[in-house]
């Protein structure tokens, strides 16, 4: 008798996982936001409902089963109801990833009716007001209300909290809030240093002591709550000596579609130079996945250089993250410098060391941060334009 296979990595000719970034509009200004710095460039170019449905249908035909609806704040679009219902009919397992802003009972009832499978609530923390936020009973009540609504409609309460230097010391309060919300799963993931978080890296990376303390507190909650509230704690990859298996390999399972229709092998790939990424407005998903230069560029291991090429771990981590390799070494075909075998690993070590000796307080840090907002994004977009014109 055949036992289970649990493979997400069969050799296939289509994505398994589609992440639909419905919009980059968002009422929040998170300093760790992973949306592109020039996200305003997608405004006015968002895919229509029909264009989304066409794309989802094509991906589904190739075997995609998981669908994430994210953003920005996806609830800012008023066609989420339609997208959920149609995607569910197509056979997708549909996940909604939201800050909860704009989630009314009316909408959640319609989502449920349409077949939404799971809601992931992200803990809003725009850092400017973190302390107020944590202590304000009004926002706290609001959170509890949303949590109750999610449970009332039969969904597990899945909470994502992004941790960083400025909020990690509040972990006890955050976990108490999660407990009050009767969260079933809580992911406490340190921010990854891309896009806005990369701009703010200096100020967001926690110290070793902060991490140890936060992990110890998490452990205490875990021991007390057991299965009732499952806790996952993710340290920044800079603290590791092997890279993450980014996206399970380039163009292996994951297809990200940006609000303007750009198809990407990961959220961040837009930044890589010299690669043209296809748009779902111009191409079908089959061509995008199987033929487009953007998706085939780093598929498999043919593109690898040393030390990855001859490394016996290359099928475990695929050489790490292409975007991180590019951001830190200037060449996306280098090993991810998180790897201790990389000749650029010192860049990571130095950054981590710098994080240990930051002398300024949280209050002094706040004004130094780049807040993710439309004004800053337009500025980045303009800078990029003038760079490419000269």
């Amino acid at each position: 008798m055949t036992k289970d296979g649990s493979a997400l990595s069969e050799s296939r000719s289509g994505p398994l996982w589609v992440n639909a970034e419905l919009t980059y509009r968002c009422p929040l200004h998170c300093v760790f936001c992973y949306n592109p710095l020039d996200y305003t460039s997608t405004f006015g170019k968002e895919l229509s409902t029909d264009e989304w449905l066409k794309t989802l249908r094509e991906a589904r035909e190739l075997g995609a089963v998981q669908l994430g609806l994210s953003g920005g704040e996806p609830l800012l679009r008023d066609d989420v109801e339609i997208l959920i219902a149609e995607a569910s009919k197509m056979g997708y397992y549909v996940n909604l990833i939201t800050s909860g802003i704009g989630l009314t009972e009316e909408r959640i009832a319609a989502f449920k009716e349409g077949g939404l499978d799971q809601i992931q609530l992200s803990f809003q923390d725009s850092t400017k007001e973190l302390n107020d936020f944590l202590s304000s009973t009004r926002t706290f009540e609001l959170k509890l209300k949303i949590a109750r609504l999610i449970k009332q409609y039969g969904y597990p309460m899945v909470l994502n909290v992004v941790l960083h230097k400025l909020n990690i010391d509040h972990i006890e309060q955050i976990l108490e809030m999660a407990e009050a919300m009767e969260a079933d799963h809580v992911e406490l993931a340190n921010s990854q240093y891309y896009a806005w978080a990369f701009k703010n890296r200096e100020h967001l990376m926690p110290t070793r002591e902060q991490l140890q303390r936060a992990e110890a507190i998490t452990m205490r909650f875990r021991e007390r709550l057991g299965k009732k509230m499952k806790l996952y704690f993710v340290v920044p990859d800079y603290y590791a000596d092997r890279p993450k298996a980014c996206m399970n390999g380039w163009g292996a399972v994951f297809l990200n579609i940006a609000p303007d229709g750009l198809a990407l092998p990961c959220h961040e790939a837009r930044m890589l130079p010299g690669l043209e990424f296809p748009n779902v407005r111009e191409h079908d998903v089959d061509w995008i996945w199987n033929q487009s230069p953007g998706f085939t560029a780093y598929r498999g291991d043919g593109w690898m250089k040393e030390p990855c090429r001859s490394c016996d771990e290359k099928h475990k981590d695929f050489g790490g993250c292409r975007c991180q390799a590019y951001m830190l070494t200037g060449d996306a075909t280098n090993a991810d410098p998180v790897c201790s075998k990389s000749s650029h690993h010192h860049l990571i070590v130095e950054q981590v060391e710098r994080a240990q000796h930051s002398l300024i307080s949280a209050e002094e840090t706040r004004p130094l941060l780049f807040y993710r907002d439309d004004k800053n994004a337009r500025q980045f977009a303009d800078e990029e334009k003038s760079c490419s014109e000269h």
Binding site: T2, D4, A7, R12, D117, P156
Partner: protein
């Protein structure tokens, strides 16, 4: 852990069972991904509907595949599925 033979079994809350044309195989979908259920694995899970018990499922399979010696295989498979949190006893 051993399963009671006569209690109804159902899929765990967040799991969805369906046929995947692209893979020509049944799958279980859940928030973190999917589990492929080729051949007989799909045949067994297909019969979990919130009413049927372990014994009921075995009886149904024996009827569909007369003469096959499948009792122990089904028990092993479903106990494994239960340990992994795909199914629960109602």
């Amino acid at each position: 852990m051993s399963l009671p033979p006569d209690k109804p079994l159902s899929l765990e809350k967040q799991f969805r069972f369906q046929w995947e044309p692209a893979q020509q195989c049944h799958v279980l979908l859940y928030p973190e991904g999917l589990i492929r259920l080729p051949g007989s694995a799909g045949e067994i899970i297909q019969r979990i509907d919130g009413n049927a018990s372990l014994n009921g499922i075995i009886a149904a399979l024996e009827q569909a595949y007369p003469g096959a010696e499948l009792r122990q295989d089904v028990i092993d498979f479903l106990e494994n599925a239960h340990d992994k949190g795909w199914i629960r006893v109602v």
